[in-house]
Symmetry: D2
């Protein structure tokens, strides 16, 4: 279950046919792309687009992905990805996720990703205060 004491951003979409594989289910790498889209949605929802973060000269480099697949999803399914901030440090942060079916809420996958804040030339950097505020990161500390 997503945590009850954190801001959860949920994005919903239909499984795309291209995301399936010859087992007849969604390919496991497609979920990684969904997690990323959920982060984008989280940022948009909180009022600080990741595209603007990049235009400001920063990036959140993915340094770790840990995902557990619980049940398959298929073409024709509508899925929800629930995303929240799991942990924040000066230069790094992590997100938690659950991927569920809509309707019903059956759990397909749960995951965490860790990220390093970097400048455009790839150097580690502090997450700028303005963006900590926009994304509600201080509250998550």
């Amino acid at each position: 279950m997503p945590p009850t004491d954190k801001t959860i951003a949920t994005t919903e979409f239909y499984v795309r046919y291209a995301e399936t594989d010859a087992m007849g289910i969604v390919h496991h790498a497609s979920y990684i792309v969904w997690l990323e889209e959920a982060r984008s949605h989280f940022a948009r929802t909180l009022g600080g687009d990741y595209a603007d973060f990049e235009r400001a000269g920063y990036g959140l480099s993915v340094i770790e992905v840990h995902i557990q697949y619980r049940a398959p999803s298929r073409y024709g399914d509508r899925v929800a990805v629930h995303c929240w901030v799991e942990d924040v440090k000066s230069r790094a942060m992590s997100f938690g996720y659950e991927v569920t079916l809509v309707p019903g809420g059956a759990l397909c996958a749960s995951a965490t990703t860790r990220h390093m804040c970097i400048t455009r030339d790839g150097k580690p950097a502090k997450i700028p205060d303005e963006w900590r505020r926009r994304w509600g990161l201080d509250a998550a500390d």
Copy 2:
């Protein structure tokens, strides 16, 4: 411009970061996936899910894709894919598409795809009457 005398189904979504490439724009193969999702949306909108079409034992095999790229789209952009039935034959059909930016409507790509109706074992088959009716294909003849 999409045709004015045909049913247009339009699906909208944000560009996903994974869909971009090192040129900083959306990779050209990502559009092919968008066209497919637009076909799915077309079928859902008209009341005949493609997932149900498959469960009924049929498929629409892609036999040709022709796409012209007019202007790049980028992460952070919201895009619309407009999709309509271009032509219908007994065992084959083709779709037309335009990919545009939202808002503004700038044209990113225009495309057509051709499809052969097949059974589960890959044999060509007539598009079943029930599905021609659901998807409004007779009107498109």
Copy 3:
């Protein structure tokens, strides 16, 4: 059949599981990625890596893809992509392709792609003489 009067670069690889879809065959968008890898291989084979072309400040933007799918390929198959220069203009060029099974040579797809030479800021540019020479483009005129 690939043309007999042109330089053909052929790259071979195994189908990746992720490239398949729920129809049990390779998804049609995967071929678009294969064509691109065939272009990369063409450039490497002729002694002018596309990565160096980009480092020199240029790109070959994809402006058109036309592909016809003839027969499916599947996970477990080894495929060959044959690539040649179809046409060269001052600022544009096109490639031709055939995707075949190995062994046997059954034709899976045939395609052409058109490209515009651009500078790093996206402006159309003449294909530099050095690169025309490296890629044998003058002979293709």
Copy 4:
């Protein structure tokens, strides 16, 4: 470093342009596809193609992926994926991986994946003895 007491299968290939993203580096989800291709290569190398495993009515469902990204790879790079069996149980097994640059051997990513043996209808099953032998799994116990 890959373990010295286990069979390591190493597959090498060039980064595909489509695998990069707007950060100018390989997108993190592309590595997940590379791990899978490394498993395919492992199976081919040991004489038991995964495609044959599927034709025999089995699958190795991915139930967990854990990957740590150490340094970026880019278009133009040649990468090696080293793959070995980390652990084997009656119905499950896990693989270990390292993704490195060629030449030089700089470490880009290290990962483990866990898999459940399933039948065609998705039910958990013992890994068949014949396949344990082909893949050298008993030695890995």
